[in-house]
């Protein structure tokens, strides 16, 4: 593991900024993308995340971290929120939060699980469930920057209905030159799918990833068990551990 190359050690303290909901997009029955306007937002790199804080009328506060779903776009940021049924923050954001309402955000945070648009190495993205969110920021940033680095995304979802960004990924797989997208379904595959639903394994990563001698940058994001499996597979296939960056999702209600 090399030391991260970014930092903001000399920077000023991260401040809480007021963010207001501009637009809401329903992605799946349980996931929504929120577009927020954040005056003064300093910009970010794909893969970074942001803390979101809610304050009740009596001063009670709750905060959670969410990955940024898109590349830097002026004073707007996109978050994709997976609704956690017994959660405290996500049900508010998906069910009650209305256009124009304020929340507070602080960020960007994280200097390791990032992809820089000036990188030229091949990239392998491996997503489990809502772990696709920071990886989608990288896919979007690549196209936005006109970067030609070859990208492969392997996306594991429970069923086709659970695939976040499904339409956009279909379009990008066709139009973004050098982007391949492969799906793994764990519970139910679409009509006409070859093979049975299964958890991601060596064969998936070997067939749809990059050979280790190309020294790709690998980003793995998803639930803990998923990330452990995929990271072990990548190391087992011969990828150098320092080229494998991971982000694990615990419960983030």
């Amino acid at each position: 593991m090399a030391a991260p190359t970014t930092g903001r050690r000399a920077g000023t303290p991260l401040m809480w900024r007021v963010a207001r909901l501009v637009e809401r997009r329903v992605e799946t029955p349980t996931a929504q993308t929120l577009i927020l306007a954040v005056p003064g937002w300093p910009g970010h790199l794909p893969g970074q995340h942001v803390d979101v804080r809610l304050t009740a009328a009596d001063g009670y506060q709750a905060a959670r971290s969410y990955s940024l779903a898109g590349p830097a776009d002026g004073e707007r940021i996109a978050l994709t929120v997976q609704r956690v049924p017994d959660g405290e923050v996500s049900p508010y954001l998906t069910d009650a939060y209305a256009p124009g309402d304020p929340v507070e955000v602080r960020g960007p945070v994280g200097g390791w699980f990032v992809w820089r648009p000036e990188e030229t190495a091949p990239v392998l993205l491996v997503a489990g469930g809502s772990g696709v969110v920071p990886l989608m920021a990288m896919v979007r940033a690549r196209r936005a920057a006109g970067n030609r680095a070859p990208f492969r995304l392997i996306y594991s979802a429970r069923t086709p209905q659970d695939v976040i960004y499904a339409d956009e990924l279909r379009t990008r797989a066709r139009d973004d030159f050098g982007l391949d997208v492969t799906y793994v379904y764990t519970r139910q595959a679409p009509e006409g799918w070859r093979g049975e639903p299964h958890r991601i394994g060596v064969a998936d990563v070997n067939s749809h990833g990059w050979p280790p001698d190309l020294e790709p940058l690998c980003y793995v994001c998803g639930p803990t068990g998923f990330v452990e499996t995929v990271a072990d597979v990548l190391v087992g296939l011969g990828h150098q551990t320092r080229r494998v960056r991971t982000e694990r999702f615990g419960p983030t209600g």
Binding site: P4, G7, P13, W16, T55, A62, A231, V235, G250
Partner: protein, 199 residues
Amino acid sequence: MGIVSPGFSGRRRTTGPDLPPGQYLTEDFPVLSAGPTPRVPLDTWQFVISTETGAEFRWSWDELMALPQETPTVDIHCVTRWSKFGTSWQGVSLDTLLDGVDTAADYAQAHSYGGYTTNLPLDDLRDGRAWVVHSYDGEPLPAEHGGPARLLVPHLYFWKSAKWVRGVRLTVEDEPGFWETAGYHDYGDPWREQRYQGD
């Protein structure tokens, strides 16, 4: 007080004097690490304390296990906002390991198999506040939680409790580690909510 979000009241499932600000209680034991989990064989495992003069103190696995063992039960607090109460560990106090180590250093940088590093003041490793632990809940510590052995410094955010620890370097200057270089706080006191640089 922050800006009120209309309609938010919160679930307030956990409050109380044992929960630091901005944290919520979990019964799970989430995992946070930046790369693949290293697998470290016990027959080559070692733990090394090195001082600012270059002196080194080494323990093999068997030597570590032969030292006096302690069984701390502590609350742990992760910067990703979960806290877990009453976690039970077994291991060796840093007081035991530092006993006889002659140093004028003020800082320590823990380093791990796999390359992870984290920094903290040396004083925070003393006085019964830090251990090298090898068991959790009476079982050998699983690799994804830092086994075969990790640092346990529960009074700081849990990223200071380096997984897969292989040693501690004692230094005169404070040398930021992996997350500290990436924008996280140098000290990381959960009770003062020192999450990021400048907090």
